[in-house]
Amino acid sequence: MVVIESRNLVEVQKVRQVYGKSGGPDLLVLDDVDLTLKENEIVGLLGRSGSGKSTLLRSIAGLVTPTQGVIEFPKIEDGQRATVSMVFQTFALFPWLTVLQNVEVGLEAKNVPPTDRRKRALAAIDLIGLDGFESAYPKELSGGMRQRVGLARALVVDPDILLMDEPFSALDVLTAETLRTDLLDLWSEGRMPIKSILIVTHNIEEAVLMCDRILLFSSNPGRVIGEIKVEIPQPRNRQDPTFRALVEQIYVRMTQKNDDSQPRDGLFPGSGIGMALPVVSTNALAGLIEAINAEPNNGRADLPELASGLLYETDDLFPIAEVLQLLRFAELVGGDIKLLPAGKRYALADVDERKKIFAQQLLSYVPLAAHIRRVLDDRPSHKSQARRFHDELEDFMSESYASRTLKAVTQWARYAEVFAYHETTDLFSLDDPT
């Protein structure tokens, strides 16, 4: 095998990103991240939401300045450095500009003369399969067509690196697949001017389908926990056993607990009442318990299979599975999720019985819920301002995390009838509406 020396386009060294408000605790988003992007490769940044992968992409795009670390673009041919261009998850098209004008916008900013601009924009539109839509406005287009405009706009400025931030996650499954295939075709046929692609995704199959190299990110804080080379030749087949095996392997890596060097009491950042929790509806929790309990799973299910069976993206399934784990309804073993005794009892119980079981688990394993309940029990009025707990949480986490955590706990407690919440007065209480 001949090893071709490829040049580095970007070198990211020891990048750290901290967000924080003055006086409050800082939120570490990226911790000590290294990354090198070479010529002729598609690299995927794969991780859960909150793993800082989008932040890393934005640092490379120059939209965010890292708190620490270096992002370097080494000199490549004739002393030029690599240029970047970005495709956005939300498409980010100007609704008041036509398709053609949207594509021309980047050239306009570079002061390319109008005739030249028009010519290049039309060529890009042609390449990306948007012929005939030149004078349409974005709102007249379907999601897939809009993302094609986003792609043409990024390509027309002739970048060396194409940065893609979850480019297909706002699209329906079929449209996303078509766009992926088209992009891969253009890439393998060398019809795009770019030298490499860096793509952020939370979709494991997408990463395996497209990338030559995948960097796995852990969340809270975002770290690179592994690098996986995908050596399956293109075009790849999702049903191919090696493909499936690789997807399974990544699932296992992603569901593993965080590295042991930093002990934590669970899956969520923070500990005790300062644990930051995701908002997951009790219906989703009940639904997942039932799905694991049902035939053919009988209490133990393979997460990727479960996800595709439920028509879920795995990223959407992770938080639900993790809350189940927190409440000790289930545990994650390898790539599998297994019901614990409480989960089994829950699955078989009727509505009232379920609420009782849920209340028990909630008070035992979610410290914040137990804390609020204790305060309410202690007070003669059995009432307390929710604001107070919010402020308490803000000692541990950012304001938005605090709101989310409190919202999650309120929702669960209301379902379990552990305590009530009244929105207009912003009061927690032990009242039952009668």
Binding site: G62, A92, V105, A124, D126
Partner: protein, 585 residues
């Protein structure tokens, strides 16, 4: 260059759709040319009028010859647009400054907030004197004062809306423009201005509606013993009142109606239809606003070419990179450096403000005692009672009617423009009719002058309620029907919560407008007969007529305090409540 252009005719279908049509001039072109020429001529004639010295005005004072009425209507309209242009310039500069500079923001935003709720009619005395001194002996000075009065009724809400738009530019579009390295100018024309456009157009429309009221009020103005009547509908009306000429008042009403319909059809509807493309939405479900003038303009060949010509100038401007692209921003590092001067800046502002207040206090205290001020506050309460009662009565009348109309699309489509027309119609033109009735029937002016305050502003309640009721989701209405909800339950649980946010908007506008209107509505005359209601409005009107500046100043301060307090303690909490609890999304 990487993309090779293909000139193999693949794009022919596309070229055809973009290239100008090759047909000769159409009837649309002729009509458009005629329209443009007429408007240009009118502007030239009007501006020529305004530049005359004041002595010419004295030599040929305003009269009631019907022949002159079109000319007067034209001049009033030009003043309106002059003020609108000034408001736009103010908005684009000041609001942009507030959005871009923290230091400017600290002053501009609270100032706009206060100015929005200050009774601008009260300032007329000061501004007329200021501008007459600026252009001594020339009509231009008085013109400027009138235009400035209208400006003060228009600019603040436009600037506020623009500022808020600039602060809420969507994050992803902001990132696109930064990623492509847009210059500040290009960012402004490509991103910020288009994004702010719908809000700006809507607010300009609201401002214009309010503006007609001030045109009428500011053209004929008496400060102390000087009376100046600029040629215009307002002066015509003042003269008609002085001479008890009923026919002339009726003509003024007619002229006003014609002018408002024309400006709506020729100017605003096309702009609204055009601005529709700037709405920040990703779906095209709603029905688009239509305008025959806009359709006409788009059908012509000439107009697009003229616009193209203007755009070329704009493009060469945008080609210059006015400032270095905002590259990598170091957000954290700068924060602490900025903090310290911020404190100094706030301190500086505080010193200036308290200095100004002290000066004002000394100015007032030369001729007014504390007892005077207490009695003025008492007058404020009298006006407050009037405003509150009137808003309540107007709500009781218009909410059911508005809901009824709003739930019937066929009706609301026809009546919504009528309600908007009524809101734009300057109610002060109608005052003489009311005065004649009150005098004829010997009614108590303290009670019966009050409805005049809300005559023009009640329509804001009506058209907002209509909008709210027509926005009531259909499935909700169907659910209510399925469960057989009716009568009180239907109102309490379906209709009222549904329209509440809209109602608050309408009532807020109506209440603010009513305070302002009280200055003209609490003190009216017909010939030599004068009717007065006890209140803060008539107090300010009297002080203005007497040229007693300290009293005018106190009156304005007290009224502003009332309006600001009311906004803070009543309307804003209601608005927040509506935003939080009663929204359909």
């Amino acid at each position: 260059m990487v993309f090779l252009s293909r000139s193999d005719g693949k794009h022919r279908h596309f070229d055809r759709s973009l290239a100008p049509r090759l047909a000769g001039p159409s009837w649309a072109d002729l009509a458009a040319i005629a329209l443009v020429v007429v408007i240009a001529l009118l502007v030239i004639v009007g501006v020529g009028q305004m530049r005359q010295p004041l002595t010419a005005l004295n030599a040929a004072p305003v009269d009631l010859q019907l022949l002159h009425l079109p000319e007067y209507a034209l001049l009033s309209t030009l003043r309106m647009f002059g003020a609108l242009a000034a408001s736009l310039i103010f908005t684009l500069t000041v609001a942009t400054l507030a959005a871009k500079s923290r230091k400017a923001e600290l002053i501009i935003v609270p100032a706009l907030d206060i100015l929005q709720s200050v009774p601008v009619l009260g300032f007329l005395t000061f501004t007329v004197m200021f501008f007459m001194n600026l252009f001594p002996g020339r009509q231009l000075g008085v013109e400027c004062a009138a235009i400035f009065a209208i400006f003060t009724s228009q600019a603040w809400n436009m600037a506020f809306s623009f500022y808020q738009s600039l602060r809420t530019v969507p994050k992803d579009l902001d990132e696109v423009s930064r990623q492509f390295g847009f210059s500040s100018w290009r960012r402004f024309v490509r991103l910020e201005l288009p994004f702010a456009m719908p809000g700006l157009v809507w607010n300009a429309m609201m401002s214009m509606s309010g503006g007609w009221f001030f045109v009428v009020a500011s053209e004929a103005i008496a400060v102390g013993n000087t009376t100046i009547a600029l040629p215009g509908i307002g002066s015509w009306l003042a003269l008609a009142i002085e001479r008890k000429d009923f026919g002339a008042v009726a003509w003024a009403v007619f002229a006003m109606a014609v002018v408002i319909v024309l400006y709506d059809q020729l100017i605003f509807r096309p702009i609204v239809a055009w601005a529709d493309k700037f709405r920040f939405e990703q779906t095209a479900s709603r029905e688009r606003p239509r305008s025959w003038v806009y359709d006409l303009a788009r059908r012509t060949r000439l107009l697009p070419s003229i616009i193209e010509l203007l755009l070329v100038a704009g493009r060469s401007l945008s080609a210059l990179s006015w400032s270095a692209p905002p590259g990598r921003q170091t957000l954290r590092a700068n924060k602490h450096i900025i903090r310290v001067p911020d404190g100094l800046w706030i301190g500086f502002i505080a010193v200036v403000c308290s200095g100004a207040s002290l000066w004002l206090l000394r100015f007032i205290s030369t001729s007014l005692t504390a007892a005077d001020i207490i009695s003025i506050v008492g007058l404020g309460f009298a006006t407050l009672v009037r405003v509150a009662v009137l808003i309540a009565i107007a709500s009781i009348i218009w909410v059911p009617i508005g809901v009824w109309i709003g739930l019937r699309p066929a009706w609301s489509e026809r009546l919504q423009p009528v309600a908007q027309f009524l809101a734009a119609f300057p109610a002060n033109v109608l005052f003489p009719f009311a005065v004649v009735i009150i005098i004829g029937l010997r009614l108590d002016p303290n009670i019966w002058l009050s409805p005049l305050m809300i005559l023009g502003t009640q329509w804001y309640i009506l058209f907002n309620v209509i909008a709210g009721a027509s926005a009531l989701p259909n499935d909700l209405r169907e659910a209510a029907r399925t469960f057989n909800m009716r009568g009180l339950q239907w109102w309490r649980q379906v209709a009222l919560p549904g329209i509440f946010p809209y109602f608050v908007t309408g009532a807020l506008t109506a209440s603010g407008g009513s305070w302002n209107a009280s200055i003209v509505a609490e003190s009216v005359s017909w010939g030599d007969k004068r009717l007065q209601a006890t209140g803060l409005g008539s107090f300010i009107a009297d002080a203005t007529a007497a040229g007693d500046l300290p009293r005018v100043a106190v009156g304005i301060v007290v009224m502003s305090a009332f309006v600001v307090t009311l906004n803070r303690t009543l309307w804003r909490p209601l608005y927040r409540y509506a935003e939080r609890r009663l929204r359909f999304d």
